[in-house]
Every structure is written in structure tokens, then in C-alpha cells.
Symmetry: C2
Subunit: 131 residues, 2 copies
């Protein structure tokens, strides 16, 4: 696996990052390696996409945890939570594209800190008939 780009954000510290894009995350820019600009062709402002990131700051040996880090909730298997501490720390972020450059995009809200590697971008799927 190899990063295709990186997050540029005002968020620099995990402790200040919201847990999901729709929980008060700031806008962000994704800068791609130049050779992947072609893979963005056809992407338009307003498109909903799923960004996949590699949450490189997470511990990878954690198998259970409190949902949302809330110690008032019973610990449970990490595969039933969105914790960034997991065997393969892949982040899923559903966002709206607000700008498209030759090898970069801007998005409305992203909870990942600046420097987080981006590993894939996929369209949000509509109903079967619209795919």
C-alpha cells in the first residue's frame, strides 16, 4: 500500500480533532502525487466521495475499546467501533468536494490531522439504477 496523497488541514493534533466530519470538522485540502491527477478526471464540485486515509498515529495492537473513548460505555470489540486504534488503521470519511485542481481537491469537512496519508477516493454509491 502506498499513499496517493496527503491531507492539508488546520488540525495538527489528534486531541483537537472531532470524531467524524459532521461533528464540527474544518474544511481540508487533499494534495495528490502529481501522477494521480489523471485519476481525478471527471470529479466535480458537489460530488460526494469517500476518502480512505491511513490513520498513521493510531496504535495497532488494540482489539477492544470504549465506544467514542467514553469510559462510561462498556468496552467492546474494535471492529464494532470507528476507533482509529485498530489492526489496519484505515479511516473512512464521507465528504463533499468543494474544489478540484489538477492534482488536489478541497472538501467541506474532514476530521483527519494535517499530514495524514490518503490511500483511495471512491464515489458514494447511489441506487442501483443510477450507478
Amino acid at each position: 500500500m502506498r499513499p496517493v496523497g496527503w491531507v492539508e488541514s488546520t488540525l495538527t493534533d489528534r486531541s483537537e480533532a472531532p470524531k467524524q466530519p459532521d461533528e464540527g470538522a474544518p474544511p481540508a485540502r487533499i494534495v495528490f502525487r502529481p501522477e494521480f491527477g489523471e485519476a481525478l478526471s471527471g470529479l466535480e464540485v458537489g460530488d460526494r466521495v469517500v476518502l480512505l486515509t491511513w490513520l498513521h498515529l493510531g496504535r495497532r495492537d488494540v482489539l477492544t475499546g470504549h465506544p467514542r473513548g467514553d469510559t462510561g460505555r462498556a468496552p467492546r470489540g474494535i471492529f464494532t467501533t470507528r476507533s482509529p486504534e485498530r489492526p489496519n488503521p484505515i479511516g473512512l470519511h464521507t465528504v463533499t468536494v468543494t474544489g478540484v485542481e489538477s492534482a488536489a481537491i478541497t472538501v467541506d469537512a474532514l476530521e483527519a490531522v494535517t499530514g495524514t496519508p490518503v490511500i483511495d477516493v471512491k464515489p458514494v454509491l447511489g441506487p442501483v439504477a443510477e450507478r
Copy 2:
């Protein structure tokens, strides 16, 4: 990145696989490495989860393609499609859990072929207030 489990399915050939779970895919079983059984604790029948797979049969040097492989549609950037041929061939599959074993689960429908590595499992997120 390291597989946490593998797909067991009646699908053995990519050419016979539907493009998404809700397009006629068969049920499947996911067998985890024994040490990851704990990461499943709290998972219940009926839960909606996102399986992340590594689509190991895909080419990784493809940057544009016809949506859904339909040559009647103009080619576009691979990041605007769900093609398995992409720089990091990660598959996203939203499925319903139909059974939970100590280190395995069954799911209602999955379009990945047998032997596909599974790299993560995440809950489908509900509205903010229910997280």
C-alpha cells in the same frame, strides 16, 4: 497492512462476481485470524457493517476506466469509479451480519471472490446522536 481474515464464498472467479453486494451477490463467511476474535465482541446478528477488503486480483497501474466496465460510457478517473483496478485496491462492502462465531461471521451478500483478504470491519454510522 496485514489481512485480519479472508472471504469464504461460492464465488471463485471475478468474471462471475456482481459489482456490488446488492446486485445479486451470494451470502459469504468471513474467517478471521483467531487472535482477532476479540475484536468482534459485541457484534450482533442484524448489525450493518462495512467490510474492507484487499482486491488482490486487480491491476494497480490503471488511472482511468469506463464506469462499470461499460465501454459505451466515456472513460473517467478511477477515483470517480468503484473499479477494483486502482492504485490501492481496497474494496468497501456494506453488508448485514447474519451470524457471529468466535472468530468468523456470516453476511447476507458479498461480491468478493473466495480467498479475498479482509483488512477491516467497521460499523455503519447512524445519525450523530446515536453514535
